[in-house]
């Protein structure tokens, strides 16, 4: 699923186990000019991170295969000197502010309830966030 990455494009790693959603996210991000690494498990995401020189942002779903893999994945990233500064947007259908607080306290940058947001809004937020970071 890996595409060749041009150096001037933002690289977004998307982790989402629902194939139709992953496809839509990938397409929308690519249309906005980003490169997408699409993973449906956190294991696959970790192998991308090990291979790639650069990932600008991670889009992470909460409900993936296994038990709380999203939270464990964030904890692992935040403990790694190499990866801890990669921004993370959690986009999840997990309900309730408890999950949101759990992720935010682990150091993710944004938390969205998937069903409440338009895809173009999410993509716009990501672009805004990365542009601001660059300045």
């Amino acid at each position: 699923m890996k595409d060749s990455i041009s150096p001037d494009k933002k690289v977004i790693l998307v982790i989402e186990d629902e194939a139709p959603l992953l496809e839509a996210i990938k397409r929308k991000l690519e249309l906005s000019g980003s490169s997408v690494l699409a993973a449906d498990t956190t294991e696959q995401a970790l192998s991308y991170l090990q291979d790639e020189k650069r990932v600008d942002l991670i889009w992470l779903d909460h409900y993936l295969f296994g038990k709380e893999p999203g939270l464990l994945f964030v904890a692992e990233l935040k403990n790694s000197p190499k990866w801890k500064s990669i921004p993370i947007f959690v986009v999840s259908n997990a309900s309730g502010a408890e999950k949101k607080h759990a992720y935010l306290s682990l150091g993710v940058d944004k938390y969205y309830a998937k069903v409440d947001y338009r895809l173009d809004q999410l993509v716009k937020d990501i672009q805004g966030f990365l542009a601001e970071k660059k300045e």
Binding site: E18, P20, L21, A24, I25, R27, K28, L31, N93, S95, G96, A97, E98, A113, K114, V115, D116, R118, L119, D120
Partner: protein, 373 residues
């Protein structure tokens, strides 16, 4: 009336499925039927002569305010007390019960004895919990396919995979709107199931109220039928600082303001005004938040049902068919959890004013387990 021998009454009471207890005015047990053993594990012989509702027997778990209220109602007001209690059986296991305690008075109005009937409702509560969990689970499962419908129709409408004709776009908009309506319903159902599971977390933190209200108004985009409705905030002279759970307060506010906007959008010169006041409400010094609109109002004959689950006034259904009928039920439940009150005044075709209060001592902290979805 057919006369029944007194012994029949005794047999009925002895054999009752609910436990029946008679105590003296100080709560010392004079009589207990056999059901007491099935429910609490203590035999009638073990409990007679002891004080009811204490830790030595099956009670004492409800905390001081509960028992103070109970004794006030029974001894001072001399009224029956009903409610749910959590109790502990002889073997240490907990159970839920519904009980009624009735003071029996002599002809001078003094308490002669108390009469208690208690039913074990542990099983009913479990069934209720299972039902709530089912609603929550089902709502969750609906969110993923709804997201797919939302995002794909959105992309088609944006022309991401090529232009669509005007007619196709119209059809797609209907799909999108239908899906959005279902999202609102699923979110509201999730919140209802969370509230009904009990244990809503209320975490009050000192907060500047006016700033929070201004922010809630700014964040919410109050657009109905592609027209922006002005929402004015008449600021209080000082920015009052109160301990509130800001997430809960903004959720309730957004809900009420959204309604105000929705139900005045079709009327001439629609406007919504939010204002603040400090006064005593039912004996509690409170901050009163007032949300006033000049919309369709609520028909008088339907006003008493407005806070019912799924209820929608006839004119509201016509004006906004997409509503869930859950928003006000959710809001009122939340407001009462934080120790406030919520009510309204309304005139058909004149408008509606909703009032929400927060005690000036701050929202009541609730340890709880759940936040809203």
């Amino acid at each position: 009336m057919v006369s029944i021998p007194l012994s029949n009454f005794k047999e009925a009471v002895d054999g009752s499925f609910d436990y029946i207890l008679i105590t003296d005015p100080d709560g010392i047990i004079l009589y207990a039927n056999s059901a007491i053993e099935r429910i609490t594990g203590f035999t009638p012989q073990e409990v007679i002569g002891k004080k009811a509702g204490t830790k030595d027997l099956w009670g004492g778990l409800m905390g001081k305010p509960f028992y103070e209220r109970l004794w006030k109602i029974l001894k001072q007001d001399k009224k029956p007390f009903t409610g749910e209690v959590k109790n502990k059986r002889k073997d240490g296991t907990l159970y839920d019960a519904f009980h009624t305690i009735t003071p029996v008075l002599d002809k001078d109005g003094n308490v002669q004895f108390f009469f208690e009937i208690q039913r074990d409702i542990t099983h009913d509560k479990e069934v209720d919990r299972a039902k709530t969990e089912f609603v929550s689970l089902a709502s969750h499962q609906l969110r993923t396919p709804l997201t797919a419908i939302n995002w794909y129709s959105e992309m088609l409408l944006s022309g991401d995979v090529g232009a669509v004709s005007e007619e196709q776009s119209h059809y797609l908009k209907e799909i999108y709107k239908g899906s959005q309506r279902m999202v609102r319903l699923v979110n509201d159902l999730l919140n209802v199931s969370r509230l009904e599971a009990g244990g809503l977390i209320v975490e009050p933190v000192p907060t500047k109220i006016s700033s929070l209200i201004s922010a809630s108004i700014k964040e919410g985009k109050f657009i109905e039928a592609e027209r922006e409705i002005p929402v004015r905030f008449k600021n209080y002279k000082e920015d009052i600082k109160l301990a509130v759970d800001s997430e809960l307060l903004s959720q309730v506010l957004r809900n009420i303001i959204n309604n105000a906007v929705r139900y005045c959008s079709g009327r001439p010169n629609p406007q919504v005004e939010v204002s603040l006041d400090k006064r005593a409400v039912e004996g509690v010094n409170s901050l009163v938040i007032k949300v006033e609109d000049n919309g369709i109002g609520i028909p008088k004959v339907e006003q008493h049902r407005v806070f019912e689950k799924f209820f929608r006034a006839s004119n509201a259904q016509k004006a906004a068919p997409g509503g869930t009928g859950l928003g006000l039920y959710i809001s009122k439940t939340v407001v009462e959890k934080w120790g406030g009150k919520m009510w309204f005044e309304s005139g058909e075709r004149k408008g509606t004013i909703f009032y929400v209060t927060i005690p000036l001592t701050g929202m009541v902290f609730q340890k709880g387990e759940k936040k809203l979805a």
